[in-house]
Structures are given as C-alpha cells and as structure tokens.
Amino acid sequence: MRAAVTPDRVVGVVALVLAAIAPAIVSTYWVSVLLTQMLFLGIVAASLIFLSAYGGMVSLAQVAVYGIAGFVLGNATTTGNTKGLNLGWNPWLGVVVGLAFAVAVGLLFGALASRSTGIYFLMITLTYSVIANLFFGQVTTVSGFGGISGIPTPKVVGTDAHPNRLYYISLAVALAIYALLRYIVRTPFGLTLQGLRDDPVRMASLGYNVVLHRTVAFGFASLVAAIGGVLFVWWNGHIDPASIDLSATIDVLVIAVIGGLYRLEGAWAGALFFVIINNYSQRIGFIGPRFHTLIGAIFLVIVLVSPGGLMGLWERTLNVFPGRRRDPLDRTPIELGQAEPSV
C-alpha cells in the first residue's frame, strides 16, 4: 500500500532533503554552529515533548539530565588540565558511562516525581533542575563554577575531523530518536502511557501500575535528553553549571512551547527558531544582549496567538483549506497549570 501524500509528509521530506544538503547551501558557521545546535537542543526538547504529549508530564528536569550526562562525560574523559576528576577514560567509554549515569538518575527522579501530576510535577522537576545546577556549581571535585573545559571527543568528531561530520552525526541521531519516539508511542507501552495521561485513575483501576509506567517513561526520556547532552559536550568541548542553569532549563521549555508541545516535530522547529533568534538578535542594536526579553515576548505572543506553537500554526493553516482530514494526533495542547488528581 502506498503512503498517502499529505502536506505534513511533503514538508517533512523537504526538510529532510534541506537538512541533508545544508552544507552545500549554507555557510560553515550555519552548519557547524547553528544547525548542529538546533539538532541537539531539538533532541532535548523532544524528550520533553514526549513526556508532555504522551505522558501528560511537563518536565523541567530534562536539562538537568542532559547536564548530568555531559558532566559525567567530562569528568570521565579529561586528562588533568581542567576541573573535575580527570579520569582520562576513552571518549566512547565516557559516553556509555555518561548515558548510564543520566538514565539511572532519571529513573530516580522519575520514581520520586511520578506520584504527582500537573503543577506539582512541574515544581518537583524544577527542583531537580536547581539541585543539579547547584550540585555542579558547589561540588568542586566534579566541577565548580568554571566547569570542565577541553573535553576530548572521539576521533570521528575530533578537532581534525571535517566540521560537517558532527552535524551529520547529530542529524542521524536526531532522526533515529524521532523514529524511535514515533515507534514507542505506538507500542503497548506508549499506548498505556497515553491512557495514563488521559485518565490515570481508570488505568489504575484496570490494573496498570501507573507509577512504574511513568517512572520508566521518565527514564526513557532521560536517555533521549542525555544523548542530547553528549552531543552538546562534543560540540562545545566545555560544560559548566551555567550550561544547565534555570535560564537553560527555561530555554528548553520555550523551545518546546514555541515549536508545539504536542508534536515531536515541534522540538526541532522550535529549536531552529530559537537558535536563529538567539544568534541574530544580537546584531539588532537596541536588543543586543537582551535576548531573553525578546524570546519572552515571542513566547507570550505564541501562547496567546497559537497555543500549539509553530506546529499548531501549521495545522491551522492547513485547516483553512476545505476537505483537509485532521490528523488523529491533533488535540488541544495540555494546560501547563492544570492540576490533575494524584494517583
């Protein structure tokens, strides 16, 4: 059976082709800085959208988990010229340990937070974010204020490698994560998660272990965020507490909301928008360093005009045309402040 040609798919294919040939049509800076940044920030935002759209959990801990992976990787692989443990391990071993550590912490975070919902879940995960920031800022054994610099990367993306290589690896990883998330939400686990989102009391009465399901979902989202953290460290070569402070935490939420908190694609759309605005707004004299004021204003406009973000805007544009079939995933975005009953 041939797949139907829909506007979504056409745009998706065009975006994919543009992403694939980007190095041929835009500058090296765009590829190695802006687009690569968009890809790993999109991955972190996708982990938030996955939890939010399919699990009803708006998490502010994704940046904390991403940072934990980055800090563990930095401590494991540096060799004596920077803060931290300087264990000097192989960069790949550092990646594995960083991901494992982040997932373990993510599962712990999830186990503690998954008994609450709505605004309470939001606040607990915000606490995780603050704890992670203060932990790495205060514990000089593993970081301190200045963080870890000169973090080595595997040869495949090392300083001698072509600058486009990290971009293509990030693109491949982002696509794999997108496909994996799309697959997961259609598995029995993903469908159960959506059931828990819609009516946790009914799901509990049907015999599902609500807390365990949410914890596992949080752990899985932690793995996704941690992969974003690894790509960030490879790209930046440095991580410090400011990389995971409250501002960075809010940035990822802003990316997800601007992109659209109910569709995975919104993660990368929002990240691209955010990265471009962040980069080019500095050139506008009266804005200069006031980027967060600008993005705050844009956030406000998006929430008021299109609560579904850029994806919602796209959907609304399509719905203008008569006869357009609504996507079964379409629904009202989750209310951030809506407190659901605890289970």
Binding site: T28, Y29, S32, V33, G80, N81, T82, K83, G137, Q138, T140, G144, F145, G146, G147, S149, G150, T159, N236, G237, H238, I239, D240, A242, S243, N279, Q282, G288, P289
Partner: protein
C-alpha cells in the same frame, strides 16, 4: 618588408608588453589591497564585571590608536570601537565585540560567534578567570587562530592549559599579590589570618598568592570561606568569618565587594582597615571610590599597576595615551584616572603585544599564523609600569606593585607602597604545571622560601 608584415611582427612584443603591464598593475593592486586582519574583542558587558566593559574596550581601542594608527569612533564610549588602523598596509578591522558575563559557557558561545560566524583571525579577551580557561582550551583546538588575553588572571589558563596560541601579558591573580604575605606577617605582625574569596578560578588564584606567601614566612591561615560568584546576600558567609584572627584577606570582587563588606559590618561591627588586605578590586578605579573611609589604612594587591608612579612613562600612559584617546570611560567618568584599572591596563597591554607581534611579521598572518605566534612569543613590552616579557608558557613575567588606601581631602585614595620586579607564574617556584591548581583547599599552608621576601622596594609616587 612591408609595413603590414612589420606590424604583424610587432604583435608578439605588444602582447608581452600588455601582459607585463597587466602583471605589474595586478602586483601594484595586490600591494595596495593587502589582506585585512579581522580582530574580535571579548569583553564582559554583563555579570559581576559588566560595569567595567568600557574600561576593557578603552584599553583595546587606545592601544589600536596609539600603536596601529586607528582612531576611536567615540571618545566618550569605547565600546563603539575604532576606525582605521593597520599594520604594514594590512587593515585591522574590528569584526565584533563579544558580550560575556563572567561565565565560561557564555564566553565559549561568544567566542564561537566571533571566530566562526564573523570570521575573526585574532581574539583579544576575555575578562575573567574561568572564561579564559575555556577560551584557552578553545584556542588549543583552533591552532590557526591567535588569542591574547584581556585581563583574566586564573593561573590554570597558562600554567595548566598551555595553549601555544594563547598569550597573556598581564599577570595572574597570585602574581598580582606578591609581597602581601610578607607585608602582613613581617610589617603588620599578623600571625593568623582568615581568607574570603569568590568561589571561582581567578579568586582562588588571587587567594593562593596571599596564602602561599603568608604561610611561606610563617603565618597560619585558619579559615578559608568561598561564597559563590554573583552571590547577592553575603550574610551567611560574613557570619562564618572568624574575628579571633590578626587579619583578613578579602578576594571578593566586582559587584560582590561592597555587599560583602556591608554584610561583614552587619555581622561583626565597623571594619578596621588596618586589619584587612584586599586584592586588586579594593584599588580598581571605579570601584574603590565606593568604599567607605572606614577601610582607610588597608593594604591592597594591585594588578601589576601603579597609577601614581612618579615616572614619565606612567604619567604619559595615563594622560597622553588613555587620556588622549578618551575623554570619559562610562560609567565612571574621566578617562585618565582609569588608566591604571586592571581592566583598562590588561586589555591595553595585551592588544599592544598583539600589535607588536603583527608588526614583527609585517602583518602577514598566512601559514596558519605560525609566524605571528612565534613573533608574539618574543615580544617585549616597555609598559608604563615596567618591562614585560613572556615565559615558555606564554605568560608574562611582570613587575608587581601593591598599594595602601588613605584619605586625601576627606576622600579615599590609593597610594603605591611596594614594588617587586620580575614575578613569574611559578610564584618563586611555588607553582608548576604539575602542582595542584589553586582551589578551596590549595595551596596548603606551608613554610618555604620565596626570592622576594624582605626585598620589597618602595617606588617614588606622586601625590
């Protein structure tokens, strides 16, 4: 031979002549359009040191104007940059001024923007310690670009990272405090001291200089307190400060200094200036004026600077260099009195070192800038406060001065009272590439010999 044939025979000569003329013209064009050297500056316009942003830029623009034929765009606003300026016909184009905030993460993002998006060939900056460690690591990964420090003084930047293309003509925080430990123990009679310093690389280095020397001569540091940089409420840290010590060394800087001292007074009563030694921030123009006269008598570590030095070079630097190119440096007012600020002076000498390197290679930055980098290593700067040259890790060996706060016409003023020549980053053999980096517990308090103990000189000053 007919005229037609003769003309045909002349054609090859005409072609050769035309080609020769074209070649000569293109060569002449090449000479007149020498490649542009793209310069970027990384300053802090936000964070704990954001108030000194224009001092940073004043140093850069004044050096560009004094030594490379540039001109400030605005004599009352250094951040506007410069026009003109060249080395051997190669224009020095300012492609961007980064705005960091004392955080390494921001410094790296800005460095990437300046070097990769705006395509800078050389970078001048950053301002503060952890930023410079991150930028030096970035420099290591980009060996075909050249980096000179701004005013950052973390020891690790040059002693640990050792990027071959990162150069620092200013001292580090420990070097700047040479002489203070000897002064505290042998002149002020302190046997015990407490130390409070911001919890980051520069302040650790600054405290390390005092601790290493005070302990070297026999003193004991009984308490070390480290409030995080950008702390707004210092009351809990001030409470931790012991009062049963002979004196206190304060390395809380930037926007945190005044709030810390207020919190200290709230906790322990009015400050007795004679029981305090501060690091460079207590004497930084623009900052010390905000201190109360209660700190009168306190000694202050410098930054290799001595604004009141009674030498023609020092006067010329203040009045005929910084004061010549700028009327005011906002937000602190008249430019000349700010010449001795660690920020103005640091960015000035580092820019000057870069220009001298560029002049040595005739502005040629081809070949991955290897010739330029080799030339900068050999630069010797006859600065207003003494001669500076680089060690094998590209760190300046500098003259160090320390000051004392006193009252002049009822207002607080700074007087230079001590001078130690040729201080290097090993701090008389105390630190090396393999010793533990300055931190909350290092260096340990141990007795040892230092070459300048008992040999502090007393320079002639004005006022």
């Amino acid at each position: 031979m007919s005229i037609g044939k003769r003309r045909r025979k002349l054609i090859p000569f005409a072609v050769i002549a035309a080609l020769a003329a074209a070649f000569a013209a293109s060569a002449a064009t090449a000479r007149t359009t020498a490649s542009t050297i793209k310069v970027a500056v990384l300053s802090d316009c936000q964070g704990a040191f954001g108030a000194f942003d224009n001092q940073d830029l004043a140093g850069v623009v004044a050096a560009m104007s004094e030594y490379a034929g540039a001109k400030p765009k605005n004599p009352n606003k250094p951040r506007d940059g410069w026009t003109g300026g060249s080395v051997n016909g190669h224009p020095l184009k300012l492609v961007g001024i980064g705005c960091s905030n004392d955080r390494a993460d921001t410094a790296i993002k800005e460095t990437k923007r300046l070097m990769e998006q705006l395509g800078a060939d050389v970078l001048i900056g950053p301002l503060s310690g952890d930023e410079s460690i991150a930028v030096a690591n970035y420099a290591k990964q980009h060996p075909t670009k050249t980096f000179v420090d701004g005013s950052a003084g973390a020891q690790d930047t040059t002693l640990k990272v050792r990027a071959p293309n990162f150069f620092r003509f200013n001292g580090d925080g420990a070097m700047w405090n040479a002489g203070l430990g000897d002064l505290a123990y042998n002149k002020l009679g302190w046997k015990t001291a407490a130390v409070v310093a911001d919890d980051y690389s520069f302040a650790w280095t600054s405290a390390a200089g005092f601790i290493a020397e005070f302990c070297a001569v026999g003193g004991k540091v009984t308490k070390r307190v480290f409030p995080p940089l950008n702390t707004t409420d210092y009351s809990s840290y001030a409470q931790q400060m012991p009062t049963n010590v002979d004196g206190t060394f304060v390395a809380v800087g930037g926007a945190g200094l005044i709030p810390f001292l207020k919190a200290y007074e709230a906790a322990h009563g009015p400050i007795d200036g004679k029981k305090f030694i501060g690091n460079l921030f207590w004497g930084t123009p623009g900052q010390f004026e905000q201190l109360s006269t209660r700190v009168t008598g306190a000694y202050v570590g410098g930054a290799g600077t001595a604004g009141d030095l009674a030498t023609p070079a020092a006067k010329k630097y203040a009045n005929n260099v910084i004061g010549k190119w700028f009327k005011t440096i906002p937000p602190f007012g008249a430019a000349a009195p700010q010449a001795a600020s660690t920020f103005t002076y640091g960015f000035f000498i580092n820019t000057w070192g870069l220009i001298k390197g560029l002049q040595a290679v005739g502005g040629d930055i081809s070949g991955g800038q290897k010739s330029l980098q080799a030339a900068i290593k050999k630069v010797v700067l006859p600065t207003a406060y003494g001669t500076i040259h680089l060690d094998k890790y590209n760190q300046g060996i500098i003259p160090v001065y320390y000051q004392q706060l006193y009252q002049k016409g009822g207002k607080l003023a700074v007087k230079t009272v001590g001078y130690i020549p040729n201080v290097d980053q090993t701090f008389g053999g105390t630190f090396s590439a393999t010793t533990k980096a300055p931190g909350r517990t290092s260096p340990a308090c141990v007795k040892r010999s230092l070459p300048w103990i008992g040999k502090t000189q007393h320079p002639k000053v004005t006022g």
